[in-house]
Symmetry: C2
Subunit: 202 residues, 2 copies
């Protein structure tokens, strides 16, 4: 009897090859020039294989990014909590700035953002699967700082996260300034001043 290849395993191998090809090509040629044809050629599969599993370029990119995040430490790991919110946030923001300054990491995220900006359904999916769990981990750290009296007890934590991350997001997205460790530190300093309990001075 001739041994048949395991179709499930072969599918998974193709799927991973497609996601890897998508990530590599985004970093190499950028989002605008990325095509399904190029992803298929790089992954060694037919175009139809891609369209069987994904409805659009945006959907492939979303899964490529999701797979990247799942292999990274971010989604599973809580933020550090040494008791000193300034130290902890500066470590986190320095790491974030370093990621966004790395073309291999930022390429897929830039492509994903381009899709999200123009696709409200994908934006909702992104928020539910990626952004909300990460935000929840960050808020857990901020709540700890509130209990320690380092942040105002009545601070709106959604607004707090916007204040901390949106300047970095905008600077990265529009390439409007350098992403440096000093910038990360400055953002944390300004954030803590804006969020500190009334009556308290640093």
């Amino acid at each position: 009897m001739v041994k048949q290849p395991n179709p499930t395993r072969r599918s998974e191998r193709s799927r991973q090859a497609i996601l890897t090809a998508a990530r590599e090509l985004i970093s190499e040629v950028g989002y605008a020039k990325l095509t399904i044809e190029a992803i298929a050629a790089r992954a060694g599969v037919g175009k139809q294989t891609i369209y069987r599993w994904w409805s659009s370029k945006g959907a492939v990119i979303f899964d490529a990014f999701l797979a990247l995040s799942e292999t990274g430490p971010e989604l599973s790991t809580a933020l550090p909590d040494t008791g000193d919110v300034e130290t902890d946030l500066k470590a986190v923001m320095r790491a974030t700035v370093a990621e966004f300054a790395d073309p291999a990491f930022e390429g897929p995220i830039r492509a994903l953002n381009t899709e999200i900006i123009n696709d409200p359904a994908l934006a909702a999916q992104y928020r539910e699967k990626l952004a909300d769990p990460l935000d929840e981990a960050k808020k857990t750290r901020l709540r700890s700082a509130q209990r320690a009296g380092q942040l105002a007890a009545d601070a709106d934590l959604d607004l707090a996260l916007e204040l901390l991350y949106a300047p970095l997001y905008q600077r990265w997205l529009l390439r409007s300034g350098p992403l440096t460790p000093q910038y990360a530190d400055t953002l944390v300093d300004v954030f803590l001043k804006a969020m500190r309990p009334e009556g308290r001075r640093s």
Copy 2:
């Protein structure tokens, strides 16, 4: 002698029709589905007429947006300066929030941002022709507040503008929260707390 139509005037009329069509179509169908063909059909010109003047969809959108800004009050007008920076910034941010909540206004800006995010050359052009002059007008108002002792004299005004506008930009771009007058006010409150002179409490 047969009177010839004035070719300069006719060109200008076609140009304006193309820019108007581009703006209308972006609001109606969104950026992803916008095509040069549709712009040409709406404007009543041939595709080649568009390609004679613009190299890409992004370039048409950029000019459509530039024309929109030139007819608005923004570029020519300084920020209000009543002497009360809180009142003035809240008026400005409420107007900005209202603009970004208006589909007719935000559609072209969303399309422009999509292009800028993926085209560093267009981003530089955007910065020079649109963002820098607007930022300079805003900084003039912030400098006045610094002289009045309402903002820290040593505040980094580029960072200050990021802090004030980036949360709104991100919330609008990712559709991650409501754009309301209350949100505008809250952003100004948090901004003033982060930027106030040390030793001063509101």
